[in-house]
């Protein structure tokens, strides 16, 4: 009987170790999201995401590190919601139409601000969804001409519902 032994490559062990360290240090993606079939994904990296429809409805995700030694000081979710609402109020032309409590795909509680804006006699829709974790601030905004946005509203809502906060 020929005894065979499987020799483990030292490189494989090193890869496992590196992956473990990679995950442990949080160097992986800050979010995850599923792009609907009627949208094209233009960008996806650790901190940003962009997708759009063929007729100009755009969804954008941005993740900002917050807390000590981060670009943004740490603050509670309510602070960021108030700050966002106030900034849109100062930027003339945006009417706050609704404010909703939402949940990410992984159950994280967030807030959605719904704005309307008229530009050149055309109505536009603009949503801002915020999730706040201990280390990150997630801002997902979506918008476009109202009639086009309403046409793909289900897709936009599905995309936002698939958003995972990490």
């Amino acid at each position: 009987m020929i005894r065979t032994t499987t020799r483990r490559s030292p490189w494989a062990a090193l890869m496992v170790l590196l992956l473990f360290l990679f995950a442990a240090t949080g160097c992986g993606p800050s979010f995850d999201v599923v792009t609907p079939d009627d949208m094209v994904e233009l960008e996806r990296d650790r901190h940003s995401y962009v997708a759009m429809t063929y007729d100009g409805v755009v969804v954008r995700g941005s993740v900002y590190a917050q807390g000590e030694r981060a670009d943004v000081p740490g603050a509670a979710h309510e602070f960021w919601v108030n700050a966002t609402r106030e900034r849109m109020r100062l930027r003339a032309g945006y009417a706050l139409l609704d404010e909703q409590e939402v949940r990410s795909a992984d159950g994280h509680l967030g807030t959605r601000l719904v704005f309307g804006r008229d530009q050149q006699d055309s109505p536009y829709v603009y949503w801002i969804t915020l999730f706040t974790t201990e280390d990150h601030l997630h801002i997902i905004d979506a918008g476009g001409q109202k009639d086009r946005f309403e046409g793909v509203r289900d897709s936009v809502e599905a995309l936002l519902a698939s958003y995972e906060v990490r």
């Binding site: 943004v72 530009q119 603009y126 905004d141």
Partner: protein
């Protein structure tokens, strides 16, 4: 075809014309005050609420000169003047204030408490009328409503003008009485029409003089103060102070969102 007037009538009309032409001349110190002139003076005095229509005034004031100074105070207007002068007081104030509407309301209240009223009002100016005897008090009270940037007052001596009007009024009334007497004695229609035309002219003249005297009476009885407002200049608080210093907020909005796909062209 004209109608020859009787010689007597022509002489009367000539005398009348001479009298009317001489009515505007300077008053004679030797002229005794006619009962109606005295009555007009009494009327003016009663409107003032003083025993005599006299006001104390310095020689500079009597000449109608203006005094403009942040610290100059208007004279007392209640004391009697030995010269019996009739004075119209006007003043102006430029105030630097914060809340224009609120300050205007306070001024209106103060003026109405003095028995005065607002004659004109705009967002930057108030024109008020106050009883002449309270002119100084009013100027002092209004000066406290804000920072005084400029103040001035003027006393206009209108004694001669009023006396001149009174004399013209007396003469016109006398003429009217004579014309009414002549009208009764008119022998022809032409004479009557001529006298009536003259009578109408004299009546209009009397009404005009009475209107001028009323105007003087009002301006003597109530002094005018113009109050102009200037907002106190303050440094404008920069709008950026109210915006959080996080640049990522600048990316919010449709303007930025709709431009994102261009990066991928």
């Amino acid at each position: 075809m004209g109608v020859a007037l009787p010689r007597k009538m022509m002489w009367v009309l000539a005398v009348i014309a001479l009298l009317v032409g001489c009515a505007a001349g300077p008053p004679s110190a030797e002229m005794a005050a006619a009962p109606e002139e005295v009555g007009d003076r009494v009327r003016l005095a009663e409107a003032h609420g003083v025993d005599d229509i006299r006001a104390e005034a310095s020689p500079a004031q009597a000449s109608g000169s203006s005094v403009s100074s942040p610290t100059a105070e208007p004279p007392e207007t209640e004391a009697k003047s030995e010269r019996g002068q009739l004075l119209i007081y006007t003043g102006s104030l430029v105030l630097a204030i914060y809340e224009v509407d609120e300050t205007q309301e306070r001024i209106v209240d103060a003026v109405e408490e003095m028995g005065g009223y607002v004659s004109e009002r705009s967002s930057s100016q108030l024109t008020v009328r106050v009883p002449a005897e309270l002119f100084r008090d009013a100027m002092a009270a209004l000066s406290k409503m804000g920072d005084v940037l400029d103040t001035s007052w003027r006393a206009q001596d209108v004694t001669e003008e009023v006396r001149d009007l009174e004399i013209r009024l007396r003469n016109a009334r006398q003429l009217r009485d004579r014309l009414e007497g002549l009208l009764e004695e008119a022998e022809t229609v032409a004479d009557a029409l001529e006298i009536e035309r003259e009578l109408e002219r004299v009546t209009l003249e009397i009404e005009r003089i009475l209107g001028q005297l009323d105007s003087f009476e009002d301006r003597i009885a109530y002094s005018t103060i113009e109050v102009s407002f200037r907002p106190i200049e303050i440094d404008e608080v920069p709008r950026e102070d109210f915006m959080l210093p996080f640049t990522f907020f600048d990316q919010l909005g449709l303007e930025s969102l709709m431009r994102v796909p261009r990066r991928y062209r």
